[in-house]
Structures are given as C-alpha cells and as structure tokens.
Amino acid sequence: MSCLQIIQDYGLRSLGIGERLLPKTDFTLCHQFTLIGSGMLWNIYFGIVALIAGFFLATALAMGKNATNPVIRKPAEWFIFVFRGSPLFIQFFFGYFLFLSLKKLVPAFAPFTDAWIGALVVLFFNTAAYSGEIFYGALRTVPKGESEAADAYGFSGWKKFRRITWPTTLRLAWPAYTNEAIFLFHATTLVFFSGFPAWRQQGDALYYASYFAEKTFNPFIPYPILAGYFILLTLIVITVFGLINKRLNRHLPQEYRRKIRLRPRLIR
C-alpha cells in the first residue's frame, strides 16, 4: 500500500472520515506519521478555540480581580485560585463526572460528556484563569504616567480603558501570554487520558502515539514523531504571536520593544 493511499485512508481518521478501523499489524512509518498528524487536528482545535474564547474571559477576570468592589473581586480571585491551584488532570476528571451527573438532571447537557465540547469547556476555564492572572499582573504594572496623561487629555471610563489602559496591558502581558498559549497546546494532550472517552477511537496526537507504542512495544518511533509535530506547532505559535507582538509595539522606539522569550511554563 502506497503512502499516498494511507494518507487518503487515515489523514482525517481522527474526525471519523476515512477508514473505520485502525491498523492492527504492519505499522509503517507512514501509518504513524499520518495518524499522529491526524490526531494533531484535535490538539489544534482545542488549543485555538480555548485560547480565543479564554482571552475574553481572562480580560474580564483580570478586571474583576483588579476591582475595588469585593462583590466583583472575590469571585474573580476564587475562580483564578481554584483553576490555578489544582491539577488540570483532576479538573478534567471532575468536569467529566460533573457533566455526567448534570446529564441525568438536564438532558441538554448530554453533548458535554463528549470531549469535543466538555473538555473544551474545562480547557477554556483553565486557560482563562492562567491568562487572567497574567493580565492582572500586567494591569497592575501599567505605568502611572500613562494613566495620568490620559486623565489630562480628558479620557475617562470606558474610553480610557479601551484606548489607553487595555493596549498597554496587552503589550506588557504579551510575552507571558505567548508562553501560556504554547503551554495550552501542550495541555490539550491530556484530554483523552482523563475520563473523556475517545469516541470510535477518534483521539488526539498523543492518543494515537500511545496506541502505536502499545501495539508495537517500541516507544522510540511514535513519541519522537509526536515531539516533532509539537515543536512545529510551537514554532508556528511563536511566529503568530511574534507578529501580534510586533503590531502591539509598533509605536515604540526600537530599543524599548519587548522581545518574546521562549519560556513555557511546564505542567499545570
């Protein structure tokens, strides 16, 4: 069987398109590359959707934590504390069983027991909490002078936030936020190992990599392939975020611009 044929059969296997059964014997390198790459689609989907949705909640959380009114501040503080203080792995399990129980009470929750939306919700809350803390830190380090200058020019309320405070916050937070984004993509590999079932063996990249390692009893091929895919993904994320960083800093003189340093923050 040619490699092109394998790609046609298994290229979209993780989405349920193509061959129904996974290969059982005769695993070629092409099989492994194709299926693990096919699984990457899930990682990319989880990462991008959670990141974009989480960005807005994170902004709200950062503002909430920075608020003087305790009715707003306390919930934001607790939300961030709960999601940053506990392992993501346990959060996934807890989320899955929570949705399972809710499903019995309210049938509308039935889709949430599937990974594509249930795990996404957990990842969304989790990344919102981590980025919320980053944005909060940045919000507190916005130079006092900028705020005073905005006051002097007659900015106030929403307009001041939108035009002055928020752009500066983003600019300050962006290097740390880049790491959070890289790290979120890495965290997506946990999904199918934590309660959420892989429906009809449609899993993510790590799911297929561990499938091959189990079947061939040889971890030295599938895991390096997975690593290669993730390094590629990391490089793409860095490039995209670097471009945004450039745009955020476009008004600054060259030497003041903040470079992004690659420092992914491990496990959550």
């Binding site: 014997t25 695993f27 504390f81 709960v82 203080g85 506990s86 392992p87 993501l88 792995f89 346990i90 959060q91 399990f93 807890f94 069983f97 929570l98 399972l100 129980s101 890495h186 965290a187 590999t189 946990l190 190992f193 790590l206 990599a209 561990s210 390692a213 079947k215 061939t216 009893f217 040889n218 971890p219 030295f220 895991y223 997975l226 690593a227 993730f230 390094i231 990391t234 690659l262 992914p264 923050r265 491990l266 496990i267 959550r268």
Partner: protein, 294 residues
C-alpha cells in the same frame, strides 16, 4: 473499623459514613495519599540533583558537556510533558532489560525486537517472572520516580542555570582577582549565592510538581486517581455492604479540595522561606526589608 460496623445495613447518617469511609478499600485510598507524598519526598531532592548536574554541565567550559546539558534542558521543554511521562516509562523499562540481557545472557543469538515484540531472556526480565507482587509494585513505583526526576530535573536545571547566571558577575571577577581557581570560585562564591535567585523558580517548580502527581495514574501506579475512580463507581448490594450510586463526582471534588489546600499551604510556607532567604541580600526584596526595618 469500628465495633458498630458489623452490620452496615442497619446504620444511618454519620455512623454509616464513618463506617463507609473506613472500609479496607478506603484505607487503600488514604494509603495512596501517602504514596503521593512519598513520590514528592523522593522526587524533589533527586530532581534537584539532576537539575544541578544539568546546570553544571550546561555552564561547563568543555563544549560537548555544555551541549549535553543544554540539550537536556531544551528537549524537555517544547514537547508536552505527558508525552515524556508515557515515553520514559516504557523506554527506561526496555533500557534496563536490554542492559541486563547484555550482561546475563551473552550467548543469546535471537534479535531482541521480533516484529512487535520485545524479547529478552528470562533471567533478564525486570522484575523476574516469579517475583512476589510487592516487587512488581516497587519496581513500577521506582520507574515512575525516575521518570518524574528526569523530567523535573530538566526544569530544575533550567531554573538553576538561570540562577547561576543571575549572580553578579563582579562577584566572580573579585574571586578570580583574589586568586581563586575556577572550581573554587564556583563552589565558594557562585553556589552559596545562587539559591536566593533560584528560589522563586524552584518554588514555582514545587507547585508544578505537586500538580503533576496525579499523572502517576498514567504511569500505571495505583494512585489516588485510580482509587477515586474505583471507589466512586456505583456499587450494587450484591458486591458490597455499602451500596451507593455513582459518586465519582464527589470523590474528585475531594481530590480537588485536597490539591487546593496542599498548594495553598505550600505557597504560605514558601513565602516564609523566601522572606528568610531575602534577609540581608543585595536584591530588591532584601532592600525592601532593610528599609522596612530601618
């Protein structure tokens, strides 16, 4: 556990709960909490020494050694750590068996990888096929500890490498000016001073390590996640004296609270240590403390 627990079907409310929570299986759950603490207690120092070795290698003036150190630091980042956990457990196991195979059965003539099998001679098996159950468990746990140490050693190496570079260079130059050799300056000037720079990173790492402990489940150790799933699943009266519906939600809520309080306590303790270490140091925190006292 308690004398009144002999007939659970007659019990109600809190007495039922007290009996339920002290069954042999629940004791296994509490015992596995001990496993988590044991893992942390062993992994933290081992990973720290791996990290120290890695950082020393990366800082070395011998080029190949420095490459090895930097590669060790770089390779564990950029790739999801769970992949490393899954990889190392099999890779280490096969590595050890292969080594023993080379030593114990030198006249073995068949290939070790036969298709999809990994075959070593019976004497090289780890643990041996006739070993008692506890040896299997200890071996599995040791592999997990080693895996954790390798992965977290790389993270620690990165932190320590940064801390070594954060020590003011003038300090080292002064040491050389006083005639210290490279080795002397490293051990007497650099190492004692680097800890205060390393501590924020290391305490962050400790938090991360705590939060990584449930991954033991993926390494095949019967840890708290395993028992929470096991005990929480719905039980019918046929198999147990304490029938209940699906309670896994509550068990995982319990684990969530356990981890939250654990990280919170660690945070408070680490803050105290940081205060103590910053005292009298030439850093911003030390300066702030000096001002506050004056």
């Amino acid at each position: 556990m308690f004398p009144y627990c002999t007939d659970p079907s007659t019990l109600e409310g809190l007495t039922w709960l007290s009996c339920y929570l002290t069954t042999t299986k629940h004791m296994m759950l509490f015992y596995s909490l001990g496993t988590v603490l044991l893992l942390l207690a062993i992994t933290a120092p081992v990973a720290l020494s791996f990290g120290f070795a890695g950082a020393m290698a990366a800082k070395s003036h011998i080029a190949p050694l420095s490459w090895v150190g930097k590669l060790y630091i770089a390779i564990v980042r950029g790739v999801p750590d769970i992949a490393f956990f899954l990889f190392f457990v099999i890779a280490l196991d096969q590595g050890f068996e292969w080594l023993r195979h080379q030593i114990k059965c030198p006249d073995w003539d068949q290939p070790i990888r036969q298709g999809n099998d990994f075959v070593v001679c019976a004497a090289a098996k780890l643990p041996l096929n006739d070993a008692p159950q506890w040896v299997h468990e200890v071996y599995g746990f040791s592999l997990a500890v080693l895996t954790f140490s390798i992965v977290f050693g790389a993270f620690a190496a990165n932190v320590l490498y940064g801390a070594m570079r954060a020590v003011p260079h003038a300090q080292m130059e002064t040491a050389y000016a006083y005639g210290m050799t490279r080795r002397q300056a490293f051990w007497r000037v650099l190492v004692p001073q680097m800890w205060v720079y390393a501590l924020p990173g290391l305490s962050n790492l400790w938090m991360v390590l705590i939060k990584a402990t449930p991954l033991l489940f993926l390494l095949g150790v019967e840890d708290i996640v395993y028992w929470a799933r096991e005990l929480g699943a719905s039980k019918t009266p046929r198999y147990t004296d304490y029938p209940h519906p699906d309670w896994r939600l509550w068990y995982f809520l319990g684990l969530l609270v356990f981890y939250l309080s654990f990280t919170r306590v660690s945070e408070i303790v680490l803050e105290r240590i940081m205060r103590r270490l910053s005292h009298g140091q030439a850093t911003a925190a030390g300066e702030a403390m000096r001002r506050a006292e004056a």
